[in-house]
């Protein structure tokens, strides 16, 4: 099976230094574990963030050179049409650009492929690809997706393959010029990120209610059993669990 991993030029959230996006490295590991021939595709300027992916299990990266600020969708769509992979893997969100997670969806629509989100494990199934999807609270869901498909990878997938310096030296980067497509105009102002306070409690009314919800100690005022028989206590706990789960 032939797989393509979409790579983006990530940055480190603290220092801003160029680095690969961790979830894309996990995607490479997932594809390797599935036994695919894996190729990385990056549309942009390249750089150390993309080259470092070679050290984490990629043999080859196709670098589609487009100008900074151009829309990578057209270049990647044309390359996918030429490569005809069975599986396209991407991280669920980028880290360093818009970070909106839209590109896999737009690519799936342009290539007329189904898309499955938040994979943590992949396996070959008779009808296509079995995907284990991560859900909140550690829950999992099993999907079967028709191939060829786009699959985005979740952060709780198995960790990336370790960095191997020799592979970084021996891996190949094939550089071609991508299709120039100006990104759609997006009227917005950018400024340094400011962390905003999260809402506490469910109160949203007056300031007094919010203060009370934030400061008052939660006293449940529930049931108290003093020195019950162990069996009686066990029954009470099980009854409580059944009510709230």
């Amino acid at each position: 099976m032939k797989a393509v991993v979409l790579l983006s030029a990530g940055i480190h959230p603290r220092s801003g230094a160029a680095m690969p996006v961790p979830v894309e490295l996990q995607a490479i590991a997932l594809a390797r574990r599935l036994g695919c021939d894996v190729v990385g595709i990056h549309a942009g300027q390249g750089g150390p963030a993309v080259e470092d992916c070679l050290a984490h299990g990629l043999d080859q990266i196709i670098l589609l050179r487009i100008r900074e600020g151009d829309d990578p969708l057209a270049a990647i769509t044309a390359e996918i049409a030429a490569q005809k992979p069975d599986l396209i893997l991407a991280g669920r969100r980028g880290q360093g650009g818009a970070d909106s997670g839209m590109l896999p969806y737009l690519l799936a629509k342009a290539c007329e492929m189904p898309i499955a989100a938040d994979a943590v494990a992949l396996a070959v199934a008779p009808e296509g690809l079995a995907v284990v999807q991560a859900l909140p609270r550690g829950a999992r869901r099993r999907l079967v997706v028709r191939l060829p498909a786009v699959v985005t990878v979740h952060e709780s997938a198995a960790p990336a393959l370790p960095f191997v310096y020799r592979d970084r030296l021996s891996g190949k980067i094939i550089e071609t010029s991508g299709i120039a497509a100006p990104a759609p105009a997006f009227a917005c102002e950018t400024r340094p990120y400011r962390r905003r306070p999260k809402l506490i409690g469910d109160a949203g009314g007056s300031a007094e209610e919010r203060l009370r919800a934030a400061t008052e100690q939660k006293s449940a005022g529930g049931k108290l059993m003093v020195n019950p028989e162990p069996a009686e206590a066990a029954a009470a706990i099980l009854d409580f669990m059944r009510r709230f789960q």
Partner: protein, 351 residues
Amino acid sequence: MSRIRRDPREELAAATVSLAPRLRIDRAHRGGAALAVAATISAPTRIRLAEPDYLVFSVADAPGGVLSRHDRQVLGAARVLAGHNGAVMLLGATAEDAGPLGADRFMALPGGYEPEAAAALVAAAVQRHAPRHVLFPETADSGDLARRVAALLGEPLFDNVEALSATSVTRPASARRREWRAAPMRLMTIAPDMVAPYHGAPHEVEAFQPVEAPVRRGILAAAPMQVDAAEIPLNQASAVLSAGNGVKDFQGFLQLAHAMRATPGASRVVCDAGLLPRALQVGASGTVLDADVYIAFGISGAPQHLQGIGKVDHVVAVNTDLHAAMIARAELAIIADAQQVLPALLEALRP
């Protein structure tokens, strides 16, 4: 809704007890002007928007068929954008309690996990009703749905909105080093715990017929999987069974956690003694939980431990000390030896 203005001079005059021989003002006196205007507020009536100027869609995740806390916040955001003359249409599996949360219209989406069908339905509804804004919660399933709808409509998505007003929205970008601020866009997803839910007068909800839409299915099957609770990371677990100094038999404790389908946790004392791995420690220096149910066996409840369970809704405590802080925190408090209740519970769960 206009706010009632206070007249500070009138309040001062009402609070003035005497002018001579010296000025005396009784500020603790709760009467006068403020109370007089409060009495004029009438009982809330249901707001009915028969002919709104425009629509704002609010798509609900509704896990388990109930509007979640996040869904309420998205409805609150939709209410902010709708203002006085816009109507909020809730799209989801349930319309229960939607009126008090600010919804004016309701369109049913099919329950269950069918992201392709749901995306086609939402996109068709957007094309039919031409809403000014469509808001989704930024959760696993609804975030996926929002991106599918954006791709179907070929419109940009302003995702993960962390600050919202009627005139501007803000989202993080560039690995949370920058943020983008723009006028509210058509398709947006709202980050959790950032926008307050609606607390005004209740609205009247009118049901709308869903729109038919053809679907091409690429996801052939979907089924939830059974997950071993012990493998779920502690900060994501929904039920946690925790052991403290009152527990002696840790093999039995782990068996009980498995039988109860709860994730095992521990207090600092137990982890320090090396009786359970450090990864299981609950509290300020361990993991801060976000669970629904927490069962504390033999834990007295040090302040640092109680910090770790601050967000937990339902707490059960088994402890020998009636005056322990954990007993005060618990909804079901059992004064007994944890080491005796533990085998009884295992026995009760045995098939």
